[in-house]
Amino acid sequence: MSLRNRLMHGLRILFDRRSADRDLSDEMQNYLDEAVAAHVASGLGPEAARRAAQIELGSLTAVHDTVRQSGWESILETIAADLRYAVRQSIRNPGFSLLCILTLALGIGATTAIFSAVYPVLFKPLPYPHASCVVTIWETRDGKFELRPTFGTFHGLAADRTKSFAFTSVMKSWQPALIGSNEPERLQGQRVSADFFRALGVAPAQGRDFQSSDDILNGPRVAIISNRLWQRRFASDPAIVGRQLLLDDDLYVVIGVMPSSFENILEPSAEIWAPLGYDASLPADGKEWGHHLRMIGRLRDGVAPHQAADELTVQLKAFAPLFSTGYESSGGAPQGILVNPLQDDVSRAVKPALLAILGAVFLVLLIASINVTNLVLARGAERRGEFALRSALGAGRTRMIRQLLAESLLIAAAGGALGLAFAAFGIRAIVAMSPPDLPRTGDVRIDAVALAFAIVVTTFVGICVGLLPALHASANDPQSSLHQSSRGTVKGHLLTRRILVVAEISISLVLLVSAGLLFRSIHRIFSVDPGFNSSRVLTLQVDSTGHRFDDDAVRARFFAQALDAVRGVPGVASAAFTSQMPLSGDSDVYGIEFASVSSNNNEAAFRYAVSPSYFQTMQIPLRLGRYLDERDTVSAPVAVVLSESFARRIFTHEDPIGQRVRLGPDAGRADRPWSTIVGVVGDVKQDSLAIDDSDAFYTTNTQWAWGDSQMSFVVRARTDPASLTPEIKQAIWSIDKDQPIVRVASMPAIVASSEAQRRFALILFEAFGFVALFLAATGIYAVLSGGVNERTREIGLRAAFGASPRHILSLILGQGMRLVVFGIAIGIVGVTIASQLLATLLFGITRLDPVTYLGVIALLIAVAAAACWFPARRAMRLDPMVALRHN
């Protein structure tokens, strides 16, 4: 109650300060009158009584001020007065204010934009009710490297047999073609096991969730659709539940619609879900043992991921021996299970880059703030007279500091507001060029959190930028400053400004060296040989959907005919297809058993099922034996081609040609026939140009255990392949017009986008580096220029005593370059530490790469020398007579 009282009282005074003042004056007058009356009553004469009373009361104004300042509202009034004065000050110097505001807007805008991009990825909790309990589950062979789980593992580790998990689920991507009244459309979707939505903790908004009776081999064809698909394709039909959809060649019944708020972190573009439908009897030669699933789980309350992993590993060791044949078909049983929080898992790939970028943008903000501090200090030097006057008139030190802080906060607030506008644009640019594996880009926007961040940063910057100049200004001795002849204080503030310039240069060096290291890494990466020739190659993924392809022979015939049709397109030099494309994100690994290796552990390697002409089209060189060719048909003995480093590792001293192997589902099964190695080809980068993991085996698609439903076509053109795209698509559709063609891209674009994350970091670092360089250069210029102004008399004196122009030039240049050398020295120390953050993004060079360091130092010195040159030249050309009369 008393707080409310105080608040109301203060507000009343704020709204009607005049009547409050009158009230107080009346009361004091009355006090005086009463005191006089009392003195008269005690026997004094009227004049003496008045004087005695006045002495008692003291200065009326002082009492008035004391009372007035005792309430909280007086603080607001002072702030308002400070702000009014600050506004007048900044309007009086529009150039100075604008420069400060723009510089800060740049810093705050960049920081806010980067923060809003980074926050949803790294820090914002996932949009699930038990977000911290949702984890991803992986198999592992060596305890570190994560391997996609098999259905067999999922089945063996079912949640109801564990203490750690409430639910677990496996899923894989699914792209059904939706056939209806509109033209056929390729949907993005997922095949999921029954507890998928329960593991995420989100239930359908309409209809029902999947049940375990849905997720069985040849189970009911049911689907749940997203709110977006419901609105987009079915006009929000209220009777959607129960409606039938034709997906590929099958009728599915819609059983549910997800809420519009449902965000699918694991596959953001998925719009439709259907049961996985794998065989729970786990046939040893089936897809149930392929490492192509993703697995998630929801931990029970209080269970840590590592405890869950320990429990699953123990269980795995118990049941894996019972299914050794199944595991052998895909490279052997895993050694253990890894459990990661989902948030870490989705952000881990991009985390190093994002943290480095976040660090870099804070350095940019720091430089911008230092620059503005420098400007304010310089401005403070010009306003010495004003400060002295104010302080002589009785402004206390705190009052002066408060006034100057109000000015810097006002500038920061204007800069922050403009910065938010910059950030809004910056965010769009960031999203547009962000790497495809950056999760949750849909959530990147200026929201309340970003706004709060910008406000906090703005306030902080406003205080930091103003505090140092305010301390300097308020420390002035009013008398000497009024005379304007003392140089003591000038020296003080020049020293501070020089220290700030040194800081700017060292931060610029840190940013530029980081940008340089990334630049050289990218350069190194793109000069890595991918193992094939990507020039003039177009790739597109062709599907074969529908029951007419249930027979593998029909499927193989379709792909063969489509390939022939593509070869017939004018301008096509050669064409082929493969089950997985290098550097495209495909990662298809199967087991391989070598007859000559006695160990029980099979090897795992990338599996390529290709058309015979694949090597020639991709120009993958032959090392030994022969390429796959037209002889290797379904009826011929299975011919296998190995990658070079794989063959060399397995057959150190023997000839690999003619050696016997069992592949994929046959690996480790003594009852299956052997296949024969017929050739060895050059290594191809599959996952990334930066990763040396080139174990691979190739067979023709007709000799592989099953017919893959999707094939990536690679087409080498005689000219620009992009112009051939329509004809190539038509050629494929001339064989079967219902087959969707997706992922159309040129091979060079695929190679480039495989390094999207490094490029993203590089672009931002380059931008930040050059902004920093520019700001540092203006900082050096401003300080030297100010120094020349203040030393005009001294320079004139030197010139009058016979110092040559050359001498004066080198005096000023030397002064500037000393700062640069200091800055560079400190910056080098800084960057050797800071570059540790970049280590994971570097490739082919160390973080102490001398070429980068020397290049950046040369660049910095050149730019700094240019910034020093202009003030130095002005000093050189000073006329001694004019200079001596200065001031």
Binding site: M1, S2, N5, R6, H9, G10, D23, L24, D26, E27, M28, N30, Y31, D33, E34, A35, A37, A38, E56, L57, G58, A62, V63, T66, V67, S70, G71
Partner: protein, 111 residues
């Protein structure tokens, strides 16, 4: 203590004002005069501090004020104690008694 009149000890002014007002509503000068009389000029009330204290107590809701005629027919701002003020006076008085008797005991022991 050479000077027989002392400035009011920090923090006791509120107590003195509340106690004075518990007798009857009074204007500022009246309060100052009454404090000086009752304490036999041991305490001298500074008018500035008094007015600040009155404003603070009024804001806290312990006293209220209104303008009315004083005994010598001048318009004066009269302060009076509220219910909350009465409670506050009891609290502060009890607190003061506890402290002063503690100090008194201590002094006796030392002597």
């Amino acid at each position: 203590m050479q000077d027989p009149t002392t400035d009011v000890i920090q923090g006791t002014l509120d107590l003195l004002i509340l106690k004075t007002l518990s007798l009857q509503p009074m204007h500022g000068f009246g309060i100052a005069r009454r404090v000086e009389q009752i304490t036999r000029n041991v305490f001298k009330v500074n008018p500035g501090s008094l007015l600040v204290a009155l404003q603070r107590l009024e804001r806290s809701g312990f006293i209220t004020s209104e303008w009315r005629q004083s005994e010598n027919s001048r318009r004066a701002k009269f302060y009076s104690l509220t219910h909350a003020g009465k409670r506050q006076l009891e609290l502060e008085a009890a607190d003061w008694t506890r402290r002063s008797s503690a100090v008194a005991r201590l002094l006796k022991v030392e002597a």
